[in-house]
């Protein structure tokens, strides 16, 4: 199968200071390929650059060297419209479940914001919302609540629902369950597995829990000191 998203010799150097710059290498020549319907696990100690790699792949950060290839094209060369397509096709879900949603907006508004972003006519909003809620296994009554009034697992599901509204091909999961209780972790992991089956999503699963990675991923990589190695 063809890789949808590729990291080609990506390096990242963090710079500090405005005048007297200090440099720190976070990633060095990392190459990685993501395909539809497959999960790649990414492990590593804290501070090994896992999240940075995820953000680079999601287009949220720029690599210092190397490139991110989306459907065969370097994303830094994409025109605005094509970049938007890439942006929608590659979504990211973050670790912190309670911080994933704007605390001042009701769940409904958070969903509606995304619907208006992808220019869905207002008349279809309700239908779409209920649809996606069913997909991620949430009940309608949560809609009028605020993020602080629902549990961490539910927050994570809403975040996932928002990402799914854009019909992504690849979802980068940054420690999606490490802040959740084990019972909720089990729920979310199973949900992710089902979604992959139904929608053919490609996952990059970033986690430090080997059990989680081995449960989800077909292929596991380990980041160590900015360098990527394949794990057995």
């Amino acid at each position: 199968m063809l890789a949808i998203l590729k990291a080609a010799q990506v390096s990242k150097i963090h710079e500090h200071g405005l005048i007297f710059k200090k440099q720190r290498r976070v990633l060095a020549d990392v190459s990685l390929e993501l395909e539809e319907g497959r999960t790649i696990g990414l492990m590593g100690d804290s501070g090994s650059g896992k999240t940075t790699l995820g953000k680079i792949l999601a287009g949220l950060e720029r690599p210092s060297a190397g490139s991110v290839i989306f459907q065969g094209r370097d994303i830094s060369r994409l025109r605005a419209k094509e970049f938007l397509e890439f942006r929608r096709a590659v979504q990211m879900v973050f670790q912190d479940p309670e911080g994933s949603l704007n605390p001042r907006k009701s769940i409904e508004r958070s969903i509606h914001d995304v619907l208006s972003l992808i220019k869905i006519p207002k008349s279809e909003w309700k239908e779409r919302t209920l649809d996606i809620f069913e997909t991620v296994g949430l009940s309608e009554e949560l809609l009028c609540r605020n993020p602080c009034q629902i549990s961490g697992g539910q927050n994570q599901r809403v975040a996932l629902a928002r990402a799914l509204l854009l019909n992504p091909k690849v979802v980068i999961l940054d420690e999606p369950t490490s802040a959740l209780d084990i019972s909720v972790q089990a729920q979310v992991l199973n949900l992710l597995k089902n979604l992959q089956k139904d929608r053919g999503l490609g996952y990059l699963l970033i986690s430090h829990q080997p059990e989680v990675v081995s449960f989800m991923a077909q292929e596991v990589f380990v980041l160590n000191d900015g360098r990527l190695t394949k794990s057995n």
């Binding site: 500090h16 200071g17 005048i19 007297f20 200090k22 720190r24």
Partner: protein, 322 residues
């Protein structure tokens, strides 16, 4: 904010650049503002009921360099600043630097004790008030301080002047001194210092109170409590030091504010300090004095800020080590 390896150089270098920039900009502003004012500066060289001929006007204008183009004046302005020459006040018939020097010491005599007293009493009482914010007595005290906080300084000065100096005759009516002896000066300064102390106390009190209320909710405070500290011991061993951090920066900024407060207090108590100097200069449009005063006050505020930064980094290791 994890730039732990951004060296100390970066931090102080950035600060230094900011301060330098601030000084340059404020000094330039200082040049521009008086010149943007309407009214011929020359008219202010003379008193009331003076009748002048055209020639002497032109003569004086040339003498003051006012016939030069603006950019020449600007260059001259900077040249003079580097020579610590703040110009000559034709109104007060003295070099501005000499005038300011003679006035500033009095204003500082008023401002610095007030600033220190206000800071010490304000933070201590404010910390206690924040620590026991639910206590009825503290609430009453906070209400009292709040009233002072909300009263314009000049109104407070006027009322206290009226009640304490005139009605009760406890303090002299005006000035920094009459005979000039130390006791006499202390007597004259007493009431203004008290008023200004109250005024700066009320500000520090409210800030410190809020700061303590905020800090006491932090986990380290709960942990300190779990270690067996309680009451004021907990406040002064742990919370106070953390809560005072925002005050330090504010104190420095307040320094400019205190000097401004001194302006009103000096006017009410008829004290010949910087405040009255600025006020008089303003009414008579004495540009050199206005400019010079601004310059000096700005320098003082900037150095107070610098001092606060140093102090801050002494107290907060997080700044020192970054």
């Amino acid at each position: 904010m994890s730039c732990t390896n951004g060296a100390t150089m970066t931090f102080s270098g950035k600060k230094a650049i900011r301060y330098l920039l601030a000084i340059i900009l404020i000094f330039s502003l200082n040049f521009a503002i008086p010149r943007a004012m309407p009214g011929d500066p020359l008219a202010n060289l003379l008193g009331e009921d003076v009748m002048l001929t055209e020639e002497s006007i032109a003569e004086l204008r040339a003498k003051m360099g006012l016939d030069l183009p603006l950019h020449h004046q600007f260059m001259a302005y900077w040249r003079d600043i580097f020579r610590f020459d703040l110009g000559y006040s034709y109104h007060l018939h003295s070099p501005v630097s000499a005038i300011i020097l003679s006035r500033m010491k009095w204003t500082l005599l008023l401002a610095i004790p007030s600033l220190i007293l206000g800071a010490v009493l304000g933070t201590l009482l404010g910390a206690l008030a924040g620590w026991k914010s639910r206590d009825a007595g503290q609430k009453f005290e906070t209400g009292l301080v709040l009233m002072i906080y909300c009263t314009p300084p000049y109104f407070l000065s006027l009322l206290s002047l009226y009640a304490l100096s005139f009605k009760l005759g406890l303090f002299p009516l005006k000035g920094f001194y009459s005979t000039g002896s130390a006791l006499d000066i202390a007597h004259h300064l007493m009431l203004p210092v008290i008023v200004m102390t109250l005024f700066s106390l009320s500000r520090n009190y409210m800030i410190m109170r809020g700061s303590v209320i905020q800090e006491r909710g932090n986990l380290y405070a709960a942990y300190a409590r779990a270690k067996g500290l309680y009451g004021e011991e907990l406040l002064f061993r742990h919370v106070f030091k953390n809560a005072i951090l925002p005050i330090i920066t504010l104190l420095a900024l307040d320094f400019g504010f205190i000097l401004s407060g001194a302006l009103f207090i000096e006017i009410v108590f008829s004290m010949n300090g910087m405040g009255n100097l600025i006020y008089d200069a303003l009414l008579s449009r004495d540009y050199p004095v206005l400019q010079g005063s601004f310059l000096v006050i700005t320098l003082m505020v900037v150095s107070a800020n610098l001092l606060a930064d140093l102090l801050y980094s002494r107290i907060d290791p997080r700044v020192r080590w970054q």
